[in-house]
Amino acid sequence: MPFAGFNMPINYKTGIINEHKNVRNHSGIFDVSHMGQILIENNESYLHKLEKYIPLQLKKLIKNRSHYSFLLNKDGGVIDDLIISNIDIKDKSYLYIVYNASRKKEDEEIFISCAHNAEKIYNKNCLFAIQGPDSINVLKNIIEIPNNMNFFDILISKYNNNEIIVSRSGYTGEDGFELSIPNEIAENLITNLLKNENTMLCGLGSRDSLRLEAGLSLYGHELNEKITPIEAGLSWALDKERLEDENLNGNKVLSDQLKNKLSNKKIGLISTSKSMLRDGMTLFDNNNNEIGKITSGCFSPNLKKSIAIGYIISEFNTDNPIFCEIRKKLELVKINNLPFVKKNYKKNGSIYE
């Protein structure tokens, strides 16, 4: 399947549902090398410029920790969502940022404008995610992982004398790791991991159903330039002090949104029949008034029903029934708290020093 300029597998041999279950119960490996990876020198002037777009206090980020954040436009809309980490590589301090393949052009324009020598590393480093409760054991067999490594910790480890960036993170709701591996050793490392019978290669299909069950947003679906992180229910990821800072894009819009009522709210939905809820379907109240749209939908292998994330108008009282138009028929759907499946992370640390 073509995806952001890459030819990506939706699934490997055993199919989406089997891959999905293997990640929830054991572990699975995703090739996410299509994503952007960039290194920006940890230099005060660069960080100040980046703070115009990124709603964190970049100068205070703890070393060897990662954070979920955004690039924001002037209206507080999301240019992209990303993972940003503070890490030393060969004795030099960097911000290491992983961002969406579909947003490389927009993101890199910003990164380069803030730090002219920002170094894109995705042409020389592959990115793989190993996800699921067994990931730690599968990975430990071939790479050294300290016992006290927590979710969103990041460090440099070694494989065959090559440095790899290892972060305890991912986008499935399970414990797991992302590995930035030099191209020359990537195939060898992954082949080695796959010798373990508790893991398998997984494609984009299960990646989507896993993140949806975990209630995680996907750029182009729940997030876009017209939606702010607050409207997307992600205000936890904003540094509230930064909202008072004129240097942050959209800071006024965002602090107003925090104080006032939003026009839309993000909800989780679950099908009451066997029909599948899909991206773009329209939602109605019981008087046939349009109240919102689905932004992502899939079959949930854990719940054995279709689940979805969407936006509805805030005035809508969610005690009332919601209907989804599926092939010209209105079907009752139920609100379900996000996430659909409980996250299973290894406990978190704090954000700043």
Partner: protein, 127 residues
């Protein structure tokens, strides 16, 4: 299932058809099943409906997408495979036997002869 006496034929929309005593049994081809991936739901057609060839009559939903199933020939739906209601994945396991979807009484057997043979369908897939 040895009950299907006639040669199995195929449509360009990836349905298979076999005929016995003017009753056609219809399902989706193994190729269609493979490209759809895990099938999670099928909306079966209504028994008693008269349908025309190429008419959309039911829908299979896989984890990837919804896909319409068309009537391969004119006729009346006389039976549906109710086992699929509870377990649509039977189609993934055995698309061209146990995974049959519906039966119809056909009105024009010439339409059947015009469909592709197994060899012709294989060639069609290679194009």
């Amino acid at each position: 299932m040895g009950a299907y006496m006639s040669e199995k034929k195929y449509t360009k929309d990836h349905e298979w058809v076999s005929i016995e005593n003017e009753i056609a049994t219809i399902g989706i081809s193994n190729h269609a099943q493979e490209s759809l991936g895990d099938i999670v739901f099928i909306e079966l057609p209504s028994v008693g409906n008269s349908v025309k060839a190429k008419e959309e009559i039911c829908v299979v939903e896989s984890v990837k997408a919804a896909s319409d199933i068309y009537a391969p020939i004119d006729g009346e739906i006389i039976e549906v495979n109710n086992n699929l209601e509870n377990d649509a994945a039977i189609i993934n396991q055995d698309a061209e036997n146990e995974g049959w979807i519906f039966k119809m009484k056909i009105s024009d057997s010439n339409q059947y002869s015009e469909l592709m043979s197994e060899d012709e369908y294989k060639q069609f897939l290679e194009q």
